[in-house]
């Protein structure tokens, strides 16, 4: 079990054991090894993301400490500086389209299921919600660090609307994902469909606020 506590290493005994179960013809064992792999993939994805934040994005504890240093809060172009960036390109606006598209997609596939009763549409909804929630959480982490480490960003009302609104949308999406675990018709109609629509409505306002931050106030605009 040591490998669980050291996620970046697979210790040889466990690896060997997994190969054994793969060779095994028992379907139960095959299912088990499948899930072991699933959790490993997830572990590495999380690790890779943290790595991106920590190294490429030049995220330093120091920058959090300097949040009150007014000079570091602005980029040379005069816009409020983003903390989490890749080569001066802020990460948050790169990630934020993914959950937005996933949640709009969920509403579309929910409507399709409601109108056709074809179960495939509700399966699409469940996957879109799940990926929207995961990618939304990643976008939220990057956005939250930008928000917390720059007082100038926090001073914008639009930043608060954007953050709180998206937080609510994300929580509703999580609840919606659980509603979508129901079987057949009631996984969508009516509760799931209503939640999907409410999330998209909230996103209209919060995305508007986000665009104000970037295109009107120059948040994260370096040059």
């Amino acid at each position: 079990m040591t490998s669980a506590s050291v996620p970046w290493k697979i210790d040889p005994p466990q690896k060997a054991r997994r190969q054994e179960t793969n060779c095994n013809e028992s379907p139960a064992a095959a299912t088990r090894s499948h899930f072991v792999n699933f959790w490993n993939i997830r572990r590495y994805l999380v690790l890779a993301y943290v790595g991106v934040l920590a190294y490429v994005g030049k995220l330093k504890i120091g920058s959090l400490m300097q949040a009150h240093n007014r000079s570091s809060n602005y980029s040379p172009a005069g816009g409020p500086r983003s903390t989490v960036t890749i080569a001066k390109r802020p990460i948050h606006p790169m990630l934020v389209p993914f959950p937005i598209v996933c949640f709009i997609g969920t509403l579309i596939t929910d409507i399709a299921y409601w109108q056709t009763g074809n179960i495939t549409w509700s399966n699409f909804s469940a996957w879109l919600l799940t990926f929207g929630i995961v990618l939304g959480a990643l976008a939220a982490i990057a956005g939250l660090i930008d928000f917390l480490s720059n007082r100038i960003i926090r001073n914008h009302k639009a930043a608060w609307i954007h953050m709180i609104g998206n937080g609510i949308a994300w929580i509703l999406a999580v609840i919606n994902a659980f509603v979508h675990t129901h079987d057949a018709w009631t996984s969508v109609v009516p509760t799931g469909l209503i939640l999907s629509a409410v999330v998209v409505l909230i996103l209209l306002f919060t995305a508007w606020a986000g665009w104000s931050l970037v295109y009107r106030h120059g948040v994260g605009v370096a040059e």
Binding site: A28, F35, T181, W185
Partner: protein
């Protein structure tokens, strides 16, 4: 009070979030009422509840330690007659007293349709990993023979191998039928055979994969031997794989033994197993696993006589006209003709085996009644089932309360030593129990017999 570094506001948010999660996920789970209220002809049916996530609670399998056995009523005894098997699921006793143990595993390849399938499969794999069936050959039939007449088998051989998730077995004369998950196969059996090597011939195909959600095909032959009856479970909990996946499923099929041609004998039976003939009236009876995820006390599993052409509700309704809102489109015309089953066994007990007791080894009170193997619940905070119960019969109908007959499959910590599935009565009148998680066959007899 709060961890340093968190402001009071953040702390409040965290607490609020945590409590929302708790309340929505677990806090409003109803533990379920006394299962006894749901046993008999008129079970109490509470309001439907759909949780954000079903309350999954499976007993993790720990197996039988040396010397441990299930518990039987006073004056009776229980012994293991075969151990170390690979997922034994059903039993059949041949005319010469040889016992066939059907060892079977769920077919591979049920597709992952939703993230939920991954999560539920993962939870199930956590609790079922304790069994020692891994690495052993399954999907075969093992023959047990008692050569010295003491009732305890002393010979064991592989009777039929390389089957496809088999379950039901029926013998008519020298014709042996095995219900694989996707077909009824025919083999020629000569009395005394300990092994069949012929590949067999196909009598008829049955609804099988690739989804094959309920995969056990229970089998029995009519008294005159001309017809076979086979239980075909539904392909989902409640049509979440689409209605088209349910064609010819949740039915009992009647198969002409000579030609293999079949028709639907009865429908709307979500997962019918343990097909048996009631000895007094000669009626066909079955135990049925009803639907999940409507709450800890819905829907009660049941046993019922099966009438030709009858519709028992699945998926549109249960216990007559209790409509299930999860099915679309609704079918009021079918709901109107749905009939209620004869006898409820309480919710989520998962009956998978049934046998009417016609032997004379066990005391008088058991004769003519039915034993039922309850594999045990997963969709209920308080475990239900995990035992063999006895339902007394009078004039061909259940009379009175089901009684616990064999218990002790759960230990004091609610871990499963084993789980009962298929039942049979051996030539001497002992009750045989297939225990698929304990990998054992148990035999219950009167003490000293």
């Amino acid at each position: 009070m709060m961890a340093t570094g968190l402001s009071r506001k953040q702390g409040l948010c965290t607490t609020a979030l945590a409590s929302i999660c708790l309340v929505t996920l677990t806090g409003c789970w109803d533990d379920g009422r006394d299962p006894k209220e749901q046993i008999g002809a008129n079970p109490k049916l509470p309001e439907q509840q759909e949780y954000l996530f079903p309350p999954m609670h499976l007993a993790s399998v720990v197996g039988w330690k040396n010397g441990e056995t299930p518990t039987v009523p006073q004056g009776l005894q229980v012994k293991a007659i075969a151990t170390g098997l690979a997922h034994p699921r059903s039993l059949y006793v041949l005319p010469n007293g040889d016992i066939l143990v059907v060892e079977s595993q769920k077919p591979e390849g049920e597709p992952i349709e939703r993230p939920k399938d991954i999560v539920m499969g993962w939870v199930e794999s956590l609790v079922t990993s304790g069994g020692d069936e891994r690495g052993k050959e399954s999907n075969r039939i093992t023959l047990l023979r008692d050569t010295n007449g003491d009732g305890m088998p002393d010979q064991q051989s592989v009777f039929l191998d390389h089957l496809n998730s088999p379950f039901g077995v029926a013998l008519v004369g020298n014709d042996l039928y095995v219900a694989n998950t996707d077909a009824i196969m025919h083999y020629t059996y000569n009395p005394g055979d300990t092994k069949i090597t012929s590949p067999g011939t196909l009598l008829t195909e049955l609804p099988g994969g690739p989804i094959d959600h309920h995969w056990t095909k229970s089998l029995t032959a009519s008294k005159d031997g001309t017809l076979l009856y086979v239980g075909v479970g539904s392909n989902s909990n409640i049509t979440e794989n689409g209605l088209e996946a349910e064609k010819n499923r949740a039915d009992i099929l009647e198969v002409d033994r000579a030609s293999g041609r079949w028709r639907i004998f009865a429908s709307g039976l979500r997962n019918p197993n343990g097909l048996s003939w009631e000895p007094q009236t000669g009626a066909l009876w079955t135990v049925v696993n009803e639907r999940d995820e409507l709450g800890p006390d819905l829907v009660p599993d049941y046993m019922t006589s099966v009438k030709d052409g009858a519709f028992y509700g699945w998926p549109y309704s249960y216990y007559g006209q209790h409509v299930d809102p999860r099915v679309h489109p609704q079918r009021p015309d079918l709901v109107a003709k749905a009939i209620a089953p004869d006898y409820a066994l309480s919710s989520h007990v998962a009956p998978l085996g049934m046998v009417f007791y016609t032997g004379d080894n066990l005391p008088e009170t058991y004769r003519g009644g039915a034993f039922i193997g309850e594999h045990g619940s997963w969709d209920r905070p308080d475990l239900n089932g995990y035992k063999v119960v006895f339902v007394p019969f009078k004039d061909g109908k259940p009379s009175g309360m089901a009684q616990d007959f064999v218990t002790g499959f759960l230990n004091a910590d609610n871990e499963a030593r084993g789980r009962p599935v298929g039942l049979a009565v051996d030539k001497t009148g002992g009750l045989l129990i297939a225990d698929d998680s304990g990998n054992t066959v148990w035999r219950v007899t009167a003490a000293g017999k």
